[in-house]
Symmetry: C2
């Protein structure tokens, strides 16, 4: 058991460092101007991370592709807030958020992580995978939503065709601003957590999902990056980015857990959009392109069945 | 007891509606262009509020001066999150946040509120006042900080000279981004809560503090509103506004309580700044005017003793 887990830790750890390289290369290439800058940081209790951030690019106004590998004692806060049992833990993952400049190019988020819990003797007493990917457009292109979901479905289907519908639903239910009449952050994707008991399967799933990130996102970026936009489009993008901030700071478990357990603030908050607008009671005109986007956030759709 | 409480509810209620008028008039006058717009909203469980919002003014980019008067059953969430006992409640208060356009004019927040708890028979079993006022400059003018604090001190001193030092400390400890090495939101002010047992005294205190709001804030606005600013000043203001968002959405008890108990979202989030910037790991140059402000946020000062 320990040997097998060791192998999974290592295989997944190598995979996400590679994926980080690949994703950064892919995004830099399409951006054409800005480069990712890496900060290595050490965690006080054990481990650390490689934060890579791109800013003020041609295509990407701000984005981060972070890998962390942390370990240590289970703190009181972790016990209370995450309901974690055990003596010490190991956690590794890749987490990315990309905020494009052009309001016709969607924001994207993805995260794949692996967690192990140990007793005092160092025996693994629990382990699981978690993660997902979701898209946050400012203007709706149904073909883009369909493409993104199809890619994720194809990745999930390799493990089990029952997974995509479940993970899609979980995503629609999770990335929601409950304080805004359950308005979703975007057009969803997949979200899964606490995948236990079949570590090789879930490792395979996480890799398959990681592998489709660029094929799911880059074609959409390519297609939309030359779309002309004006100040009104930018205004709407910044209003929606406000909702992104609200979700991440008020509801997102990962963000709050990181901030309240002395995670590295700058790495956690790289997810926040570069420029944001909070307007009192702003409502897009009924029937407008802006309203169309809002309606699919209020009423999640099945993008594949149509 | 009931009669006396009734009187306090009514007197305070009338006072804050008047104060709302007075503050809106004072701010409109100095703005010279924008006017407050009022939305009346009803709370599902009982009561409602008058939200007044100003936007896109000459001087004030966004601001709200809200009064609410709500009542109803104590919900499970209230019991759990506020540790409230009893059968039903009454709460009324004024809450304002003003975000000026010019980065040399500080943002200001003030809030004065009164709470009553009842048993099943409608007998008052607990009641208290809370509130405060604090200033969030983007550039430090020590004379402004001193003026603001002196006004608040003069108001507190009317009730008891022991209050200002205590409330000042409480403010410095409360408006803090714990996830940013305990960086304060601004240069503080006063904060008090759960003032019980001497309702007439605390009513007097709340009124005295409310009365000094305009004298504390307007002279600072007058003095700074013509200061020329450029894109760099605006950039820094928007970075600091990001911290304001972080505090309000991650730490502020009132905001989170409102959002999680189905308060009126637009009235609660009127506190968020109009335009905001989140830059990865931005540090102002050591010794710059921007850094000077940051240093007093990291190391709160006694503005009156100097």
């Amino acid at each position: 058991m320990i040997k097998q887990q060791q192998a999974i830790k290592e295989v997944f750890g190598k995979y996400i460092r590679n994926l980080q390289d690949e994703i950064c290369r892919g995004l830099e290439k399409i951006d054409g101007a800005a480069k990712f800058k890496q900060d290595y940081w050490k965690r006080e209790g054990g481990g650390g991370g490689w934060s890579r951030v791109i800013q003020h690019g041609n295509v990407f106004e701000k984005g981060g592709v972070n890998v962390s590998e942390v370990n240590g004692k289970i703190s009181e806060t972790m016990r209370r807030q995450l309901a974690l049992d055990g003596d010490h833990f190991f956690a590794t993952g890749i987490s990315l958020v990309i905020h494009p400049l052009n309001p016709f190019v969607p924001t994207v988020h993805a995260n794949f992580r692996y967690f192990e819990l140990y007793d005092e003797k160092g025996e693994v007493i629990d382990s699981w995978f978690g993660g997902g990917a979701d898209l946050t457009p400012y203007y709706l292109f149904e073909e883009d939503a369909r493409h993104f979901h199809l890619q994720l479905k194809s990745a999930c289907d390799k493990t089990d065709t029952a997974l995509y519908p479940e993970f899609k639903k979980h995503c629609d239910e999770y990335f929601v601003n409950r304080h805004r009449q359950n308005e979703a952050r975007g057009i969803g994707g997949i979200f899964f957590d606490y995948l236990r008991g079949r570590p090789e399967s879930w490792l395979g799933l996480a890799r398959d999902c990681g592998d489709v990130f660029l094929p799911a996102y880059l074609p959409i970026v390519e297609k939309r990056l030359k779309t002309e936009f004006n100040a009104d489009h930018k205004f709407w993008q910044e209003i929606r980015r406000g909702r992104y901030v609200e979700f991440n700071l008020v509801h997102d478990r990962g963000t709050l857990f990181g901030l309240k357990t002395n995670g590295r603030t700058e790495s956690i908050l790289m997810s926040l959009p570069p420029t944001v607008r909070f307007e009192y009671d702003y409502q897009p005109p009924a029937g407008s392109e802006e309203d169309k986007l809002l309606q699919v956030c209020l009423h999640p759709r099945d993008w594949i069945q149509g």
